[in-house]
């Protein structure tokens, strides 16, 4: 037997602390094992019990979210992603995940592997990815480091997704100083699978072989999950080696081979390898099956010689999967992977214990009850201390009435169009392949949400990612509600019925009571909104420790909303003005309140006041009646009111349609600054053909939704009575150039 040449360090409390475990957790491990863990076992525990893998500080709260619904095919947390029934015998798997910390230190690879990881979560369920979205948050664009991060992140997302061949159909990019040094990179993938052909992440059946497939295992990304579970600091630069390196070509091979392997019927279970690599996939599959697994690490195809058990188990080398196949049929699986020039190697089998046992050079290196390692099993679960943050008193009581607003509204509209948060993100989206797979109906940018048709059916899928972190910062509960409500409103404006959400909860350090208070409040708000809209939570991801030396980021629960369009050819709706003579109508709630608006930030440099007003019950009425009007064929354009208020909604409709309008705001009561720039919820601007005006108005009135006729689509100037004349070409000129000017000069 070969002698191990590496001397393993002695396992002590100090070493456990260095691994990110606390004293109590170290005791739990010793008690359960009945001995001091080996060095390898300590490594496995440390990643499996890291925040990233165990959700130890969030799972109790997550379980309070509404997770049931008629459309759900698997329960939240059961599999790698949520699965929703979309009719025609098809299921839709979808999920959003963060890759914030790696992207902060190595934006290109950090973002690229984020995209790779989320697609793997989808195809490991047997679904073919068909679309992706992403939500990005950065500091101020004035900062050269921010421009470097934006450039790298966009290239990373683009190069990975473009090669892998999945269109980006939507997303958002948002800038605020609070994200300085800790950008958010959240990627969402959507896949389609025939009902009944899904794969499960389970290891069962005594003697069934365990096969590792895909790329070989190297020393990259060791302790990536642990790195993701601590705050970014000046020392983070030294953690660059814990960022993985992506290879989209290998991922493409892995996708095609895995979907082909599933067709054989010989696959018992399949799990992708992301955080904590072999350790995580083997223990999670084993715990789910309730049996044991014996793994011979010497059989793992390694990229370099001399890798220890510790390194092999913890490596986060990308583009790998674990498969449990039916005994005797392993060669069928291996042949398929070899056809695609990938490894397929049997490294172990399902055994009659309840443990994961890892061998190396004939020695047992780790032997742990699988259930003890995993989320929902023996992994710790904490209730954290909460405290309402002091700043809320100050921000919510700030006297907005004391501010003097500029009188030239047309000038203010131009200033808002010049804000990177409102300006066109074309510079970003044009670097992503948005049309590959020939399904994209609504592209990023000129639509409220992305739409793809589902080939072979009349239906379409709609998706939107959304969250205004400023609102959540100013009022965590209402901000959480708005994140859900607004993403649903976007889906409705595109002609879809909201079905379910996935979420990526980006917050600061959960051990800070103020952070945890906002976390709980925001989740509470999300849950209320999900219940009201009947859009259950299907899963997602929690990213804590998003902080920079100045404190936590804006709490940012990013919502990925999935919707369905019954008749994609006829119901898909876009915001641009369409036809000369169409009537422009504002439907919805009073435009009041300037708290948390882009107006306040751009004109006064303030993030103050309360989050915008929201009446959830009214919002549901608005969304239902708008969807019915769209389905009846009445609506020629629809655009929701969000950042920048009614004024910017109108400007964007003109810009996207390359048409002007003659409008008056007389019918909309209230202070003119609030009418123009309030971000109060439950507001949408629609256009209809003049002949359809009476029917449209009576429909909304019957539904209890106030309507305000603003004027008609006309010419090439947006002329708002008493506000000013804005040439569409001038507005477009401002809107389109902000980000290219900052990035390409």
């Amino acid at each position: 037997m070969a002698q191990s040449t590496v001397q393993e360090p002695e396992v002590t409390l100090e070493l456990a602390l260095e691994h990110g475990l606390n004293e109590e957790e170290f005791e739990m491990i010793k008690t359960r094992l009945g001995r001091v863990p080996t060095f390898t076992e300590l490594g496995v525990y440390s990643v499996m019990w890291s925040e990233h893998c165990s959700y130890k500080n969030s799972i109790i709260e997550l379980k309070k979210l509404p997770r049931d619904g008629e459309h759900l095919l698997v329960e939240a947390g059961e599999e790698n992603a949520g699965l929703v029934d979309i009719g025609d015998g098809l299921g839709c798997a979808f999920k959003i995940e963060s890759h914030n910390h790696p992207s902060a230190v190595e934006p290109y690879q950090g973002a690229a592997t984020g995209v790779g990881g989320i697609h793997r979560d989808i195809f490991t369920m047997g679904a073919r990815p068909v679309a992706s979205l992403n939500s990005l948050r950065f500091g101020s664009m004035d900062n050269p480091r921010v421009r470097f991060l934006l450039d790298g992140v966009v290239r990373g997302i683009g190069d990975y997704g473009n090669s892998f061949g999945i269109p980006v159909i939507g997303g958002e990019v948002y800038f605020d100083e609070s994200y300085e040094g800790n950008p958010l990179v959240n990627a969402m993938s959507i896949g389609i699978v025939k009902a009944g052909e899904t794969a499960s992440a389970i290891a069962e059946g005594l003697g069934n072989p365990v096969i590792i497939v895909g790329a070989s295992t190297g020393r990259d990304g060791i302790h990536g999950a642990t790195f993701a579970s601590e705050e970014i600091s000046e020392a983070s630069e030294a953690k660059r080696p814990s960022v993985q390196v992506g290879d989209p070509f290998t991922e493409k091979l892995l996708l095609e081979a895995s979907l082909e392997a599933l067709q054989t019927g010989a696959v018992v279970g399949m799990q992708d390898m992301g955080a904590a690599g072999i350790a995580c996939s083997t223990s999670e599959m084993t715990a789910k099956g309730g049996q044991g697994m014996l793994i011979d690490l010497d059989k793992v195809p390694a990229r370099e010689d001399g890798m220890t058990a510790y390194e092999l188990l913890l490596s986060e080398s990308q583009e790998r999967m674990l498969i449990v196949s039916e005994k005797g049929r392993e060669q069928e699986i291996i042949d398929i992977y070899e056809k695609w020039d990938l490894h397929g190697v049997v490294i172990g089998e399902v055994v009659d214990t309840d443990r994961v046992t890892y061998m190396k050079e004939g020695e047992v290196k780790a032997d742990i009850p699988a259930e003890h390692l995993v989320l929902g099993g023996g992994a710790p679960q904490y209730v954290r201390e909460t405290k309402k943050p002091d700043y809320l008193e100050e921000t919510q009581n700030f006297d907005l009435g004391s501010l003097e607003h500029p009188a030239d509204h047309a000038e203010t509209i131009k200033k808002l169009l010049n804000s990177p948060n409102i300006a066109s993100k074309k510079w970003v989206f044009e670097q992503y392949d948005t049309s590959v797979r020939t399904n994209t109906v609504n592209y990023p940018g000129a639509s409220d949400s992305g739409v793809i048709r589902i080939k072979g059916t009349k239906r379409g899928l709609v998706a939107k990612t959304d969250c205004n972190g400023r609102y959540v910062y100013l009022n965590p509960r209402r901000g959480g509600q708005i994140a859900v409500i607004e993403s649903a409103r976007n889906v409705v404006c595109s002609g879809g019925r909201p079905l379910a959400i996935t979420n990526c909860l980006n917050f600061g350090n959960p051990y800070k009571p103020e952070v945890y208070w906002t976390f709980k409040e925001a989740l509470g708000g999300m849950g209320e909104a999900c219940l009201a809209l009947n859009t259950p939570v299907t899963g997602g991801n929690v990213s804590f420790y998003n902080e920079n030396p100045n404190g936590a980021i804006f709490p940012s629960p990013i919502i990925g909303m999935l919707g369905l369009i019954d008749d994609v050819e006829n119901h898909t709706t876009t915001p641009g003005f369409k036809n000369e003579g169409d009537v422009v109508i504002y439907i919805g709630a009073d435009r009041k309140g300037l708290g948390g608006t882009e107006f306040l930030k751009v004109i006064h440099g303030l993030t103050k006041g309360d989050a915008p007003e929201l009446d959830i019950e009214f919002e549901v009425k608005l969304q239902n009646s708008l969807l019915e009007a769209i389905q009846s064929g009445l609506i020629t354009a629809a655009h929701d009111i969000s950042d920048g208020g009614l004024a910017i909604t109108l400007a964007e409709m003109a810009i996207h349609g390359s048409k002007g309008a003659e409008l008056s705001l007389e019918e909309v009561s209230g202070d003119i600054h609030e009418v123009l720039f309030s971000e109060a919820q439950s507001g949408v601007v629609i256009t209809v053909e003049a002949d359809n005006l009476p029917e449209t108005l009576s429909r909304f009135q019957k539904a209890g939704v106030p309507t305000h006729v603003l004027g008609t689509v006309k010419g090439v100037v947006l002329n708002i009575d008493g506000i000013g004349e804005l040439a569409v070409s001038e507005m477009s000129g401002i809107y389109e150039k902000v980000i290219p000017n900052a990035m390409d000069n």
């Binding site: 989209p248 044009e430 670097q431 109906v441 080939k455």
Partner: protein, 232 residues
């Protein structure tokens, strides 16, 4: 009726798009051909689709030209068989020397995916015989290396032999600096070989076949091809 073949390299990602366009929109017979195949299975027309053939971490198409199937493609093309390379397919055909020239990174060194306009420059080819000279097409592009380059002599030869089939233009059909978004020499979007049986083009006509996707401008090109094949 002609049978179409679509080559599948392991990193092809527009293979299914080309298949869908020919099979379900144009109602043709279509077969996939695996990159390790050494037989073209009797097809009449070959499409080398877009994607990232073998990852393209080196120069796009540089490895693909050595694949088993490409040896057959070269023989097929040399015998006059029609071969259409779209995007990565164009890059591969350049590397295989079936058409002259080379690709550089886009002028701004970024991937560009958007709808562009291109203009038909000659009707003298099986791909364009059914089009009109000067006809304008609104078609998507999506590439990082589409900046076509060729020597002065090579360019003169392309021009003298009427080998430029498509040029990038604006909505009015004018050639402008802005419309030539990737910096290609002479605004070249697509060229043919001297035998006029091989086409390489960067824009994706197979993505512009259905109204629901925003443009049907790709259809006349495939109609022209079908018409030429049925006459031949």
């Amino acid at each position: 009726m002609a049978t179409f073949g679509v080559i599948v390299f392991p990193g092809s990602n527009c293979d299914h798009d080309a298949y869908h366009a020919m099979k379900h929109v144009m109602n043709c017979d279509v077969k996939f051909l695996w990159h390790k195949d050494t037989d073209l299975a009797g097809i009449d027309f070959l499409i080398v689709p877009g994607g990232f053939s073998y990852g393209d971490y080196l120069r796009s198409g540089a490895i693909a030209r050595f694949s088993p199937i490409m040896q057959e493609v070269v023989k097929f093309a040399e015998k006059g068989g029609p071969v259409m390379g779209i995007c990565n397919g164009f890059q591969i055909l350049l590397e295989a020397h079936l058409i002259p020239g080379a690709m550089m990174h886009n002028q701004k060194l970024r991937h560009v995916c958007k709808d562009i306009y291109m203009r038909c420059e000659t009707t003298d080819s099986l791909y364009t015989s059914g089009l009109e000279k000067g006809q304008i097409f609104n078609i998507p592009v999506s590439h990082g290396e589409g900046n076509f380059f060729i020597s002065d002599d090579g360019l003169k030869s392309l021009q003298d032999n009427d080998q430029v089939l498509f040029r990038y233009c604006d909505a009015n059909g004018d050639l402008t600096e802005e419309s030539n978004f990737n910096g290609s020499i002479d605004s070249i979007a697509g060229i043919t070989n001297t035998g006029r049986n091989v086409l390489g083009m960067m824009p994706h006509p197979e993505r512009a076949m259905e109204k629901i996707l925003g443009s049907e401008d790709g259809k006349p090109i495939f109609e022209s091809i079908l018409n030429s094949l049925s006459v031949a």
